[in-house]
Symmetry: C2
Subunit: 429 residues, 2 copies
């Protein structure tokens, strides 16, 4: 089936600013609460959210094999289970409905009133019920930076790193959508030079600039997914801030990996941008040397040119952009990650989320975490309001934005933005 | 509310052998498929499974605040969400219904035909939809054994181990109930003395003797659970075989922990034994030295005296019991694990599962894995059929059993048993 929705010249009868992340070529999927307190699946064009549940009830998806309630749900899991063919039929149909030359909905004021919402009328929710969440560690620059800091330049990359898309399991329950604030976590840390741990709020809360992909039901337990089929099971991508408490992490992570340093909260952008919308932005990835084992060898372009940037905004002050990076720097691509994850027979379900790991670029102004940007706090960042940051302060808001752009269109992810609150205090009973 | 169901002198009108794990004092909860292909929540007394959905429809739970369909579900999650007070009301009512002196159901042949099933008429399912699965590493003997093998006796325990109930996130999707066979996983390993990894079936598949507890909705994101309230949020326990591929684990696990070495399959026993049923078997745990930080200090007996044993049965041959251990050896208890898991605000939901980590006792015949029992294969185990085992062979069945016993009653978990199959082979298209 050809993809008819990526024509860069197509325009919508909904007005879209030239710098919008959401032209008619994007058509992301999300879940929102409407002004009537109804939860529904929707998409977005320009600054309008579109209620797909209502559109479906009004017959706009007639002819596409969909259950009646497929969009009247609090998660995209069932729709994602319907598979790639259905995703494309729906996305193409949405493109047709909102095409500037299609009068059907454009001229139907009553229907428009039912299906269109301004952004202040809705509240975005988590787009999927995440069954399992895995985080990879696939930026060579990030792994090298962290390795250099903790083990020295000679042992920066572990011997397995160039052979394995290293990954580990994370916590699903604490993944939250953009906008929800996060408390500074408490925990055990080992003060420098001491041999007994202390308890208290983390002093080194950090962001991690990541992206994540959302899968469909991919395989049965026991059956690996071949690397060249892996992309068929990826629905789309979101921006991802993998909040991290560096002092807690340092004390707890040997030998079984990060745990409480990460699972206090992980924030994602609410609109899932489909892989189909990202097709025009495929690029080659970094050369992989040594050559990967056969089950990780792939054909074609499997990396994506996605500009990424992070702002820190102190409360009541202006934003400072602290880094510019790009998803294309990732050493291991998503197809390799999914093939590796399933090579032992591990089963992947609809709504599972897999993070990229921190996306650091080659230059110091493109690193994906404060740990790297300030080199463990040794080189504080100067903020626009004159203050300095080594890590994240209470009441700072961290915002990640991401978009693809060529000379014809811009396809973006919006943002994931959340404020760091002071530690949670138990109320007296 | 007093617990009326643990009277050791109570008898049921269902005949129960004296060595049964399931006397009327147990009343575990599970999910099964009936002879009519209906899925329901049930309990078990002796060798009978009891359909709680049918019992509820017949009015036997009248007076207890339960929704009509609470037991007509494919998981216990909603019932577990109802909380400890409801669990006790239901468990006590079941005890009353099946008490030898209560004629109501005993003398109603028609009702008995509807609610009672012999074990060959049902098929046990996963009892909960597991949102998140965490595995701890809480046996000091196990951590010391593994540490000694990999880092030498002087560095056996990591500096954090005596301060932190070390844990990490595992994969929920590949947790399966007893009876489902498991394929030997393939993956990358680094042959001894080489510097390039190879791909192929794991040569060192192992079991891990564990138990796991199942939680209810315990807290909101941001709010820790105090250690002395933690047990209120634990519904019950199961036996757990945390299948492990030691050669894959060794190559992949630094620095982010085990991943593909574990997530190819994890097997649990299908009946959840409630914490109330285990009350008579509370004991003191090992002395904790150094004293834990205040948030991990607890009052009272929080360990449990549960006998554990593991059989290996080659295909067509007799079983060899390879270890006897006990849950009471665990250094960190479940209340401490749950308090630690949430001290940073991580939220815990109904149906989440938390594994103990391998349960090794103090003597070499009580170790909880082949890695330890054969000391990395250096001391093979002699099987009853004359063969030897360093790790698990294809077509071996591994069976874990567990029970509590005093001079009056025995409360058991049944078993978790599964066969290791040869590696999965992709069918030619």
């Amino acid at each position: 089936m050809p993809d008819t929705t990526n024509n860069p010249n197509r325009r919508s009868w909904i007005e879209v600013n030239s710098n919008s992340d959401f032209p008619i070529q994007n058509i992301p999927f999300g879940v929102f609460l409407t002004r009537d307190d109804v939860i529904t699946i929707g998409t977005r064009i320009g600054d309008y959210a579109i209620d797909l549940g209502a559109l479906h009830q009004l017959g706009y998806f007639d002819g596409i094999p969909l259950t009646d309630d497929i969009f009247l749900q609090d998660s995209l899991n069932d729709f994602i289970s319907d598979g790639k063919k259905t995703w494309r039929l729906v996305r193409n149909r949405i493109g047709d409905i909102f095409d500037i030359d299609n009068p059907t909905l454009r001229e139907n004021a009553e229907h428009k009133k039912i299906v269109l919402f301004t952004l202040d009328e809705i509240e975005m929710q988590l787009p999927v019920r995440i069954g399992d969440y895995t985080d990879f560690y696939s930026s060579k620059e990030h792994a090298t930076n962290v390795g250099t800091m903790f083990r020295g330049a000679d042992n920066a990359l572990m011997p397995n790193w160039l052979h394995i898309p290293v990954g580990y399991h994370g916590r699903s329950s604490s993944i939250i959508p953009s906008g929800i604030p996060v408390h500074r976590p408490k925990g055990q840390t080992l003060p420098a030079g001491e041999d007994q741990p202390v308890f208290g709020p983390s002093k080194l809360v950090d962001f991690e600039l990541e992206m994540a992909f959302i899968t469909t039901d991919a395989n049965l337990l026991g059956e690996p997914i071949p690397v060249d089929e892996a992309e068929d099971y990826i629905f789309g991508m979101v921006l991802f801030n993998d909040w991290s408490a560096r002092d807690i992490q340092k004390w707890e992570y040997v030998p079984l990996g990060p745990f409480l340093a990460k699972n206090f909260a992980s924030s994602i952008s609410p609109w899932i941008v489909t892989m189909d919308a990202l097709l025009p932005f495929r690029v080659d990835g970094p050369k992989q040397d040594p050559e990967p084992l056969p089950y990780l060898k792939f054909n074609g372009q499997k990396s994506y040119d996605i500009h990424l940037e992070v702002d820190i905004t102190p409360k009541g002050s202006e934003a400072t952009t602290v880094t510019h990076s790009n998803f294309k720097y990732m050493y291991w691509n998503m197809a390799q990650q999914l093939a590796h994850h399933t090579i032992n027979g591990c089963n992947v379900n609809s709504g599972d989320m897999m993070g990229s790991g921190t996306i650091s670029g080659p230059t110091p102004d493109s690193y994906g975490s404060m740990l790297e940007l300030t080199w463990r706090g040794e080189k504080p960042i100067k903020m626009k309001d004159g203050s300095e940051r080594k890590f994240i302060n209470d009441h700072d808001t961290v915002t990640i934005r991401g978009y693809c752009k060529n000379d014809k269109i811009r396809i973006g992810f919006g943002e994931v933005s959340s404020e760091l609150l002071p530690p949670f205090e138990t109320k007296k009973k």
